[in-house]
């Protein structure tokens, strides 16, 4: 065992390093990913060890990064693209949606595009505008993309490696306010023993209400569950990990057990991923539900400036309030 206590950012770094060591076709592309190591230092030291041909500082152009990565993937590379901040993924949206997602299908599977697009996501770091977005629903709505979000350092370490090995394009969300959370990681672990990449995980067992979360909200919800326990309420917390495909089996099993469900995400409530979850749960767990599926999510406003973000972000109280409301039926 080669264990180390690492932050989430460092865990992703180690995951990238291992993927690059194991497969010479794995490349990193993005803005400032080389010498600087990325603005969050996720690619720190990789250019020094793997060279400028494998850790590529690109011109400042997100569409060009994804488009070029598609071309390199056609020739057999497995590019890992870094989008510097969530709000800057939109210039690349055309390439991601019309090309990256669809080319495998348009070519009858002759062209597989194993491109990973890493997106630091979400708020809570006191940033300026366009640095705190949660754009996952745009991508879960697009056929052909896998969408996943890591919530803790161990998952970050394993999921990034699993994402790179997949033959599908992956939008990989990294909760930036959790980059500095630490955990002990076994760097030598056999990836085959890691939690399967498209399975959700029950991260806290409970009996009264299921709370579904992913990415940055998993920790918030776990804190809420700890607080609720003091008030005699038992929350079961499910970390979805993969949004597309979605592990409905784990979700339904939990909801059928507890009979109540709250969905928590930072993204705006309206047309958010929670709506998909609520619809599916209502359809498949209708007779087990004691209350409607409720949402504890962000507001449907533009993400506010840093002095107001604490009022925007769903926090422990908003989650517990939704839990309380679900007992009002």
């Amino acid at each position: 065992m080669k264990t180390a206590t690492l932050t989430m950012a460092r865990s992703i770094n180690e995951g990238l390093r291992r993927a690059m060591e194991e497969d010479p076709k794995v490349l990193i592309m993005g803005e400032d990913v080389g010498k600087l190591g990325g603005v969050f230092r996720v690619t720190d030291g990789l250019q020094k060890d793997f060279g400028e041909d494998r850790v590529i500082d690109t011109p400042l152009a997100e569409s060009g990064i994804i488009g070029t990565a598609i071309g390199m993937a056609i020739r057999g590379y497995r590019p890992v693209c870094e989008i510097q901040f969530d709000g800057f993924v939109f210039p690349a949206a055309n390439q991601i949606i019309t090309q990256l997602a669809k080319m495998p299908m348009r070519s009858l599977g002759a062209l597989r595009l194993p491109v990973v697009v890493r997106v630091p996501c979400g708020g809570g770091i006191g940033a300026v505008e366009h640095h705190s977005e949660s754009p996952e629903s745009y991508f879960t709505h697009t056929a052909g993309l896998r969408v996943m979000a890591c919530a803790n350092p161990l998952d970050a370490y394993t999921m990034i490696q699993q994402a790179i090995r997949l033959d599908d394009p992956v939008i990989f969300f990294e909760p930036k306010r959790r980059y500095w959370e630490k955990a002990e990681i076994d760097l030598g672990m056999d990836l085959r023993e890691a939690w399967p990449v498209d399975r959700a995980k029950v991260v806290r067992e409970g009996t009264d209400v299921t709370v579904l979360a992913y990415g940055p909200m998993v920790k918030t919800v776990l804190d809420a569950a700890a607080a609720a326990e003091g008030e005699g309420r038992s929350l079961e917390v499910v970390d979805l990990r993969s949004l597309n495909p979605l592990d409905t089996e784990t979700v339904f099993r939990s909801v059928r057990k507890t009979g109540r469900c709250v969905v928590a995400h930072e993204a705006p409530t309206y047309s958010g991923f929670g709506a998909e979850l609520a619809a599916r749960i209502t359809e498949h767990c209708f007779y087990s539900l004691e209350a409607p599926v409720l949402r504890a999510c962000g507001f449907s406003t533009p993400y506010p400036p840093s002095r107001l973000e604490e009022h925007y972000l769903p926090d422990l109280d908003r989650v517990l309030d939704a839990v309380d409301r679900s007992f009002g039926w």
């Binding site: 598609i70 495998p104 299908m105």
Partner: protein, 368 residues
């Protein structure tokens, strides 16, 4: 950098002040473009045969839309010098990134014409295997194929080979952001890609003057540090000679090359378009006089490189090709709607499997 070396650097990128031309509109040779070598007689004769075939393919495809066999067809009639030269300049192991208007180029590349027309016929996939043919799917969102070309070219070079990439784009496509990003990436990476702009004067209805204020689209390359050239796009000899030089430039490690061909789309944007709303017949007639096929034929006959027999045999081959295409296109394609779900992911997701079952049940119910 001294003023002198700076000036040399800029001049080394600049296109000719007027489009490179080897053959005048009436088919006689001009000798004003000594910078480029004229293609061999044998290659020109081959190009002629391909042009006759390409023209016939294109008119046949337009007819197939009128018969309801194709959902839509964007014709490249009048642009055959570009369509044929763009392919003949390439080796088999080079890559081609076409747009939706480049079906004739694909046929010239050797892709089965029924496969070429698959998407336009209303099917959901591109029809051919891009990896086997080294020809990317015909691209509909304008200019999005260009960054792919830059990336693939960079990858080819990284893997140590000397294959190159040819990326087609239209005049409208040069206004897209991806045109800029692709040229810039290719220049910075020194990627072996030739960007070939077929300036056919209209983006559907919008004339070139509304796309750009540049003296010519070829000048756009200079700002990126990309060697650029402009050529008479209806003069096959010129297009082929310039593209051959451009491909050689890329192949020998000198980075990307931008070529603008001045040509004209004789037909409407597609069969669904009414070109009479934005251009007058007199303009179309003027361009009729610059027809690339007639020009090449006159030129080759003038040089005793083409006989009546050659012409007859090229036309016969084209008719046989068109007849075979008609026969095969008149058979209704057998589509399996359930195939829709097969290639969205490497393995269908549970959510897709669920929807596949739903469609299967609907199909079963339709059968009764």
């Amino acid at each position: 950098m001294s003023v002198k070396t700076h000036r040399q650097a800029v001049q080394g990128l600049l296109p000719a002040l007027t489009p490179v031309r080897f053959v005048t509109e009436d088919g006689s040779p001009v000798k004003e473009s000594a910078d480029y070598a004229e293609p061999s007689a044998e290659l020109l004769r081959e190009a002629y045969r391909r042009m006759v075939l390409g023209r016939r393919f294109d008119t046949q495809a337009t007819m197939l839309t009128k018969q309801g066999r194709l959902a839509v067809y964007p014709s490249s009639r009048g642009q055959e010098a570009c369509q044929i030269a763009g392919v003949l300049a390439l080796r088999e192991d080079d890559w081609l990134f076409p747009t939706y208007r480049d079906s004739t180029a694909l046929v010239t590349r050797g892709v089965d014409p029924v496969e070429v027309l698959t998407l336009l016929r209303g099917d959901w996939h591109c029809g051919y295997d891009p990896a086997a043919t080294r020809t990317a799917p015909q691209c509909t969102p304008l200019a999005t194929q260009l960054p792919h070309a830059s990336g693939l070219a960079h990858a080819l070079r990284s893997r140590g080979g000397d294959a190159v990439v040819m990326a087609f784009v239209g005049d409208g496509g040069t206004s897209e952001g991806d045109f800029h990003e692709a040229l810039n990436f290719a220049a910075v990476f020194k990627a072996p890609v030739v960007f070939f702009v077929q300036n056919n004067k209209y983006a559907i209805s919008v004339p070139l003057a509304r796309q750009t204020a540049a003296p010519a689209l070829a000048y756009k390359g200079v700002g990126y540090g990309v060697r650029s050239e402009q050529v008479d796009g209806n003069d096959l000899v010129a297009v082929l000679s310039v593209l051959t030089a451009a491909v050689e430039h890329a192949r020998t490690g000198h980075g990307p090359f931008l070529v603008e061909a001045h040509t004209y789309r004789m037909d409407p944007h597609t069969n669904a378009d009414d070109a009479g709303r934005y251009r007058d017949d007199a303009e179309v007639e003027r361009w009729q006089g610059a027809d690339p096929l007639a020009r090449l034929e006159t030129y080759l006959r003038g040089r005793d490189l083409l006989t009546d027999e050659d012409v007859a045999s090229a036309r016969e081959a084209a008719e046989a090709f068109a007849a075979d295409l008609r026969t095969r296109m008149n058979l209704d394609p057998e589509l399996d709607p359930l195939e829709l779900f097969d290639h969205v992911y490497a393995e269908p997701t549970p959510q897709l499997r669920e929807q596949r079952q739903m469609l299967a049940a609907e199909l079963q119910a339709e059968k009764g």
